[in-house]
Assembly symmetry: C2
Homo-oligomer: 345 residues x 2
């Protein structure tokens, strides 16, 4: 026997209006709380509210968005969602957005420019009210196109300093300088720096901060500066570590400029039987779950992820609501976390 699917009739404003013998405008007014100062009588309001509940009315957000020209949706474009930093960032952005009544649609670019372009167009078609973006390399033109179109936009974590675009970042140079000084204070004299071989302003700022600190202490050694490729992260970090460890003067400290580099660096050190915190002092970027199982804390630079998320949402919604046109570049301070327990072995 063929079972016909019961075509559950959708409940709309009109359904309620018809059942009550009123106009759908009145129903809309009541259901949106705009029935104050003599728009709709108390009794009718009550009846409408009751009927809506009875029929289990669910408003159609699409129709509303179409009418009012705002979708209360924001596009979040992340460079690499499998990276824990971005995952946490996305989580907080979503949470803050929700608090403000916005939905977030997440897109992942995998650090690819063409994917970024594709996702932006896709989200534009979905009528997002604005974007929060961690831009990929060389996406200046794409970003620029959005800003000249007056589309609300905030870059986060990364930015292009030459562009007139709102951003929320941390003080990459300063905190890296300070973090490197911390290694020096601990007595390290042969300090390595491992960074990406990429055109990312924020990462290069970190490297610059570390290098400056080393130079100002007179212990800078170009042999100890390594650059790894994003697409060969594991191999390159491993090679860099092994080279540093086998130099005639052995390295006694390393500064990693990103969390992905940090994780692979720590793994390489463990594999090479270098005892962290004894043979070598480390400074990582970002807190990391991968270090959770270690019996000690590796010093790291803690980014104010939650605050960045909140600021980004605030900036964006300000632009959306007020059509605020002024350019704002927020720089938030990262924090050094060094409360390590010394490993006892």
């Amino acid at each position: 026997m063929i079972q016909l699917k019961e075509k559950m009739k959708k409940i709309s404003l009109k359904t309620i209006a018809n059942e009550l013998g009123v106009s759908s405008a009145t129903v809309s007014l009541v259901l949106n709380g705009k029935d104050k100062n003599g728009r709709v009588s108390k009794e009718l309001s009550r009846k409408i509210l009751d009927k809506a509940a009875e029929l289990n009315y669910v408003p159609n957000t699409l129709a509303k968005s179409l009418k009012v020209g705002k979708s209360r949706t924001i596009g979040l474009i992340i460079a690499d969602i499998s990276n824990l930093f971005f995952g946490a960032l996305a989580l907080h952005i979503q949470s803050f957005a929700q608090q403000k009544g916005y939905t977030v649609i997440i897109g992942n670019t995998n650090e690819k420019l063409n994917e970024m372009e594709h996702i932006i167009n896709f989200l534009l078609a979905r009528q997002v009210d604005g974007f929060i973006i961690t831009p990929t390399e060389k996406s200046q033109n794409l970003i620029n196109k959005l800003t000249v179109s007056n589309i609300p936009l905030v870059l986060v974590d990364r930015t292009f300093p030459e562009l007139k675009v709102n951003s929320v970042t941390i003080n990459n140079y300063e905190i890296s300088y300070k973090a490197t000084e911390e290694l020096i204070k601990k007595g390290c004299r042969n300090i390595g720096v491992i960074s990406y071989k990429q055109d990312h302003f924020h990462v290069n700022e970190r490297k610059r901060g570390a290098v400056e600190a080393l130079k100002n202490s007179g212990i800078f050694n170009p042999n100890y500066i390594a650059e790894v490729r994003y697409d060969f992260l594991k191999e390159d970090v491993s090679a860099a570590i092994e080279k540093m460890v086998n130099e005639n003067i052995r390295i006694d400290g390393i500064f990693f400029t990103t969390n992905s580099i940090s994780i692979n660096g720590v793994k390489s050190l463990i594999n090479n039987n270098i005892i962290i915190q004894k043979d070598i002092q480390l400074m990582c970027f970002d807190e990391n779950d991968a270090f959770y199982i270690l019996p000690y804390t590796i010093p790291f630079i803690k980014q104010p992820i939650k605050e960045m998320a909140e600021k980004a949402i605030d900036l964006l919604i300000e632009q959306i609501d007020d059509n605020n046109n002024e350019l704002i570049k927020v720089i938030q301070d990262a924090e050094l976390v060094t409360n390590e327990k010394i490993v006892d072995q």
Copy 2:
């Protein structure tokens, strides 16, 4: 000087139609590729396509969705997005959905029933075409409400066996039985099991599988079975491990029934100076980044996350497109990964 925001006029079908002096219906036909077999002439098609490109036309998905009654959006409701397993699941679901032309809106319930209800209503208002859900405890009624409303739905990872609802899960009982046998084969005779004190069918099945294996080998000991609370995970796991380790007959193997328990368990063992793979053999649930830095691989049960994601999307879209009414419960086989390197110390 006040700078007036230039009210960038939105480009719609009508804009194109007007500029070309044709009807918007024709434009719609062409832009949707429905201009075949004598609907629109070659030249006009060309002109419309060119004009659309020239004006940088972006279709309004909201309007389309409103008209056709499908949003090509699916709601993904995750119990705990900070959990790596769910993160990976979400990533793959999103990726497969995108391939099929669907957008995913993710909601996070934090394992809370009322948040789950709230998110479902929110997404219903956004006119999602269907749901993929990892349901929280005691959400049977909520799930049931969706199914009786004929809303396309697939549960994933977890399910309620008593409910007539589509699901994609793994063979929790069987793989746990097999995994425990593996520990026994390695010579373990005092095997602990740490699981959640919760009403989750899938986790309880894992526990049942382990317990059955132990019983069938005649080495079941109720003292070695621990249940921890979700909200006090760290403390409870730590206490359980310490108790097991300090029993008069020391434990020589542990089976963890989830990845979060696994991580905390491994951390506790390391903190207690128990040498994993020497003093004790482990079996974890799920691959885990937190173990990435260890110089050895801890045996684990690998869930086919990608395949689960794909199957879930396929099932859901089938329901959406074909109004397919038949009940399907997919059970996929998990895999035992035991290719560990022995730690050399």
